[in-house]
């Protein structure tokens, strides 16, 4: 009986695990699996560890000491000060730009995609499946391939080299609409919508007060993925933005990195890279349970 019960949750049940390991694999097999998994973890984590360690080193130590361990003294404060003072504080400006593009873009994209996904899930209007098919098709168009057409259009429209040239394309996420539709179909009961209608609530009000709340996990997932997508975006800003005052972090660091041959400012690029990574890692760790559900929705419905 206990085996039946724990079958749904094998990770937590000790007797079950013992039973299994007895049946499934010898201690040798277990040990080799563990070694393999640890080795792979090393592959994924060591570069990040190197980045963390290197951000604490002076330029001299970067070249003279073991890359995977700390140098003679900690240089964090110096590196950070140097980074933020470099090119008249360009780095802090790039951070703000990235926050604006990714934060503003992701919030707007989430609302817009959720509205569309909900409409596609809950209103059986004619042509609905056609609209949805077009949106799914758009998921298959890689953003870098779209960037050049966007640039051609933006330059014809005269909005190249403005915040808008990056922000506007960022608020459209076909994949978000897809996720929102799947999620709305599964998590917003029709009975609830009907009940709200009987109570006299308008359609928009039902969406904003009832549906949005039920779709919160999907909202967070869409927002997070869109935030990451925009934060990581490189090709679009590279094409659109010539003025370095408008650059996001990725573009700025790319530019500094491309100058390394002439300017040995390794310490700045390394510290800047580490700082640019921190917000995303924190967001992913803090919002784990949300993006997991998003991933499962994506994989089941494929």
């Amino acid at each position: 009986m206990s085996s039946r019960q724990s079958a749904t949750d094998p990770h937590r049940s000790r007797p079950q695990r013992a039973l299994r390991s007895g049946r499934r694999g010898s201690p040798a097999a277990q040990l080799s699996t563990m070694v393999l998994l640890l080795a792979v973890a090393g592959y994924f984590l060591l570069p990040v560890w190197w980045l963390v360690v290197s951000a604490t080193k002076s330029s001299g130590d970067l070249f003279g000491t073991n890359g995977f361990w700390f140098g003679s003294n900690l240089h964090v404060a110096d590196n950070v000060t140097k980074l933020f003072q470099h090119s008249d504080g360009a780095f802090s400006r790039w951070i703000l730009n990235s926050v604006l593009y990714a934060g503003g873009g992701a919030l707007a994209a989430t609302l817009i995609a959720t509205m569309a996904g909900y409409a596609l899930a809950k209103y059986p209007f004619r042509g609905r499946e056609g609209v949805f098919a077009v949106i799914i098709g758009a998921v298959l168009i890689p953003p870098p391939l779209l960037a050049l057409p966007l640039y051609l259009l933006a330059s014809a429209a005269g909005v190249v080299d403005t915040y808008w040239s990056v922000l506007i394309p960022s608020v459209v996420t076909p994949f978000g609409v897809y996720l929102a539709r799947v999620y709305a179909a599964a998590s917003v009961p029709d009975e609830l919508i009907d009940a709200a209608r009987v109570d006299g609530a308008g359609e928009l009000r039902i969406f904003f007060t009832v549906a949005l709340r039920l779709m919160t996990p999907a909202l967070v997932t869409i927002c997070l993925f869109q935030f990451v997508g925009i934060w990581n975006n490189f090709f679009l800003p590279l094409m659109m933005l010539a003025d370095d005052k408008l650059w996001p972090l990725t573009l700025g660091l790319y530019f500094w990195n491309s100058q390394l041959r002439d300017q040995p400012w390794y310490d700045i690029v390394i510290t800047g890279s580490l700082i640019s990574v921190v917000p995303l890692v924190v967001a992913f760790l803090a919002l784990q349970r949300y993006w997991r559900s998003g991933l499962s929705a994506g994989s089941i419905k494929a």
Binding site: R17, R20, F44, P124, G127, I135, L148, L152, S296
Partner: protein
């Protein structure tokens, strides 16, 4: 609310019903209602339905408008641009004029050696890197799903971590691990008596493949793992009772059930391969083995911003977009064939 006495059928399972309007055009509810079940003829009901569809239109409108602005018009404009070329007069004195070129730009694309080379390069890259990455992701997902493993949560997060690092930053990071002098890896190799050059013409493609694999293997692993977790455990229990080994369960039960998730990750990996850009762009600073037409997207960037030949660049983009679309669609069809 008089017309709403009996519950409406669930919209999701019901066939396309009340009236027209797809969010972009104004809802017209004549044909749609006439063809619908008798209840739809009742005026109160049809008014209700049309009001609802207007709300659907309102909810859909912002996305629809932006979608047209950001997807439909740019693609249309790129196709249009690809049909023209700029002609400069013989001496280069007169103003350049834009003339209709038909499919000239496309013949140029397919006759262009650097384009064909770059396509060949990403195809080879994809044929090796995508299976390696998905194989690794699959292996890790299966191992983490088998119940013998401790610390599963730690491993999942550790493998997924690189996904949170922007592609360009990942490339910058790895480039430091490749470049002699600063790289601890080259350092270690040197001490062990092995000369490793990650940036030579022979190794650079592998080095790029490593960066891409590092960035995306964990993400794909997590998708596969999530799909594995959603399979009812009873399926394995039964097989286990019948004496099936862990390996055979994985091969005969888990793998077939993972097919949709594998398809999804496969499609997105193929798309990712064709758009390879950031990694080689970053490594170009360190390695002379990467030309400015190393990948198709780099070539189109070079055509647009290096040569100012927007028409040619547009043609390249259109060809690439079509190729991507055909490839991912074909892959989808191929891998869903047979499974209903």
């Amino acid at each position: 609310m008089t017309g709403h006495l009996k519950p409406t059928p669930g919209p999701v399972v019901s066939p396309p019903a009340p009236s027209g309007g797809d969010g972009r055009s104004r809802p017209t509810n004549t044909a749609g209602d006439a063809g619908r079940r008798p209840a739809g003829r009742r005026p109160a009901r049809s008014k209700l339905a049309s009001r609802r569809n207007r709300s659907a239109g309102l909810l859909l409108a912002p996305f629809a408008m932006l979608f047209v602005a950001v997807f439909v018009i740019p693609i249309g404009y790129a196709v249009y641009q690809s049909l023209f070329r700029v002609r400069r007069s013989g001496l280069g004195l007169g103003p350049p004029e834009t003339v209709f070129a038909g499919l000239d730009n496309y013949t140029r694309v397919f006759a262009d050696n650097s384009f064909l080379t770059s396509v060949g390069r990403v195809v080879v890259f994809g044929l090796v890197q995508v299976p390696v990455m998905l194989g690794l992701a699959l292996l890790l997902a299966l191992l983490l799903d088998s119940q013998v493993v401790r610390l599963g949560r730690f491993f999942r997060l550790a493998y997924f971590l690189p996904f949170a690092i922007p592609g360009v930053i990942a490339a910058v990071l790895w480039s430091f691990l490749y470049v002699p002098g600063i790289s601890p890896l080259v350092d270690l190799g040197g001490r062990a008596g092995v000369e490793v050059d990650f940036l030579s013409a022979d190794t650079i493609l592998l080095s790029i493949g490593n960066i891409v694999t590092w960035s995306w293997a964990g993400y794909n692993m997590l998708i596969l793992y999530t799909a594995l977790r959603s399979i009812p455990r009873e399926l394995f229990e039964a097989a286990e009772v019948d004496g099936c080994s862990g390996f055979r369960i994985a091969w005969h039960i888990k793998l077939p059930l993972l097919r949709p998730a594998l398809t999804l990750t496969g499609v997105f990996s193929i798309i990712g391969t064709l758009q390879l850009f950031g990694e080689p762009m970053v490594l170009r600073t360190m390695s002379s083995a990467i030309s400015n037409s190393y990948t198709p997207v780099m070539l189109s960037y070079q055509a647009a911003f290096g040569l100012n030949d927007y028409n040619f660049a547009a043609a390249i983009s259109v060809v690439l977009a079509l190729a991507t679309f055909v490839l991912s669609y074909g892959f989808l069809r191929l891998s869903t064939r047979g499974s209903t």
